[in-house]
């Protein structure tokens, strides 16, 4: 049975999507006379919440891993999983650091490097992959500080407690006190995508699927782009 009722549609989304998704949801609500509630948290926390039966209709994860976990437990509606949007890894430095910095140079330069914890923060995972690929990961040992989220990387760089940080292009837009020194080559790591899926909770499924489709629409993608996200080629 698939009962669509009038309760608000509940979206759970990775917190790095806070601003962009709020805007998209606003528009969607206006255009479709819908009522949407979004729960923001880290992808891992959301996955746990869903596993424990939180009333979630749509899950937008910051990486494939937690979506896989949900899918393994048969918690998502078949065939509803799509990659919505992508992102790019960047190297940031404090605003007033005007010198040219490339990732490859890091081994010759002093200073700490802030990275999301590779085990738990998606941006950190991709950073680790990239740095390993160019044989820098081991060298960086002792200079890296792991963080629990991207915002923390920004705070360290902003306050100049570290000299370099790796985050997403969309995150760099948050702060006007850091500067993107370099966009990291996309071939150095697995593709950065935000997968989404309808949660199989026997409720609101049609409405959820409709919203998911909207996320892939031209209009929604425009908004994503405005916030620094990128299109994904392969949506499945």
């Amino acid at each position: 049975s698939n009962v669509d009722d009038t309760s608000p549609l509940t979206i759970s989304a990775a917190s790095s999507l806070t601003d962009v998704l709020s805007e998209i949801a606003d528009e969607y609500e206006r255009e479709n006379n819908e009522s949407i509630e979004i729960n923001f948290s880290s992808s891992g926390k959301i996955a746990q919440q869903i596993i424990r039966g939180a009333p979630v209709d749509v899950f937008l994860s910051a990486d494939q891993r937690w979506m896989n976990k949900i899918e393994e437990q048969n918690l998502i509606l078949k065939n509803s999983r799509h990659n919505i949007v992508g992102n790019q890894l960047v190297l940031i430095v404090p605003k007033h650091n005007r010198s040219n910095v490339h990732v490859e140079d890091l081994k010759f330069k002093d200073g700490k490097i802030a990275i999301g914890d590779p085990d738990s923060v998606p941006a950190g995972t991709y950073t680790q992959q990239a740095l390993k690929k160019i044989q820098l990961w081991e060298e960086m040992h002792g200079r890296t500080v792991f963080t629990s989220n991207v915002r923390q990387v920004l705070a360290y760089v902003e306050s100049e407690n570290v000299h370099y940080g790796f985050i997403y292009a969309s995150d760099a837009k948050i702060s006007d006190r850091v500067r993107i020194a370099e966009y990291i080559d996309k071939d150095l790591h697995k593709p950065i995508v935000y997968p989404a899926a309808v949660i199989d909770n026997k409720k609101n499924q049609k409405r959820a699927e409709k919203f998911l489709t909207y996320l892939q629409s031209e209009r929604a993608q425009q908004i994503f782009h405005k916030y620094g996200f990128q299109e994904v080629i392969n949506t499945r």
């Binding site: 601003d19 509630e37 919440q49 424990r52 039966g53 837009k173």
Partner: protein, 224 residues
């Protein structure tokens, strides 16, 4: 308006504080006056929520009070109450994290006055309930007030467990600490600063008010 982080935080902390205050006093009073084996152990266990990071507590709450948790499913089936993703979850989180503060303060408070004064009241025919409200409670008041203030402040500042069990749903479970966190997270520093200011002012004025109110209503107890 009533869903603004300000009112939500005030509502949640007030409800949680009342519950913790009453519960803490009752438990402290019962346990502190009894002597039984394992008492120290029980008292220490009651303090454990303080040792765990709030996120971990949130995790535990999610397991127990989630839709699939044993209490959570009972509450849902029997009363239709949903804890997860609702402000009730935030109240629950605040209760759990602040309870140890109240319990510890109350225990110290009840052990800190001359118990012969309670005996005197009993000889005058006062029931145990009357003695509790007219003698024990006022005499323990400085310590209880200390606990009350700690509890309210802690409830107001609760973040980690709340995020886990109540989620961050703007307009529904967006308490001041969550609003601050997500404003910072999204780089809205001005907004964050405003919310921090609001939180500080709310905290400060509540504490001042609590102190003032109880001083006016409870006592001019100079010590003997």
């Amino acid at each position: 308006m009533m869903h603004s982080p300000f009112w939500l935080s005030l509502k949640i902390s007030t409800i949680a504080t009342l519950i913790v205050f009453i519960l803490g006093i009752i438990l402290a009073r019962i346990i502190s006056r009894k002597i039984f084996p394992g008492k120290s152990l029980i008292e220490s266990i009651l303090l454990l929520p303080l040792v765990l990071p709030p996120t971990v507590i949130g995790f535990g709450l999610l397991y127990i009070f989630g839709q699939k948790g044993w209490i959570g499913s009972l509450l849902m089936d029997w009363f239709g109450i949903r804890i997860v993703f609702s402000w009730i979850g935030a109240v629950l989180a605040a209760i759990v994290v602040s309870f140890p503060l109240m319990y510890q303060s109350a225990t110290a408070a009840f052990s800190n006055y001359d118990q012969n004064i309670e005996n005197a009241a009993l000889t005058m025919g006062a029931s145990k309930v009357k003695v509790f409200f007219t003698i024990s409670l006022p005499l323990a008041w400085p310590g209880l007030l200390a606990g009350l203030v700690l509890t309210f402040a802690r409830a107001l500042g609760e973040f980690g467990a709340t995020l886990m069990i109540a989620g961050y749903i703007p307009g529904v479970t967006e308490t001041l600490p969550l609003a601050i966190y997500f404003a910072v997270e999204s780089g809205h520093m001005k907004e964050a600063k405003i919310w921090v200011l609001v939180l500080l002012i709310l905290g400060l004025s509540s504490i001042l008010w609590l102190n003032w109110w109880t001083r006016r209503n409870m006592l001019t107890t100079s010590k003997e």
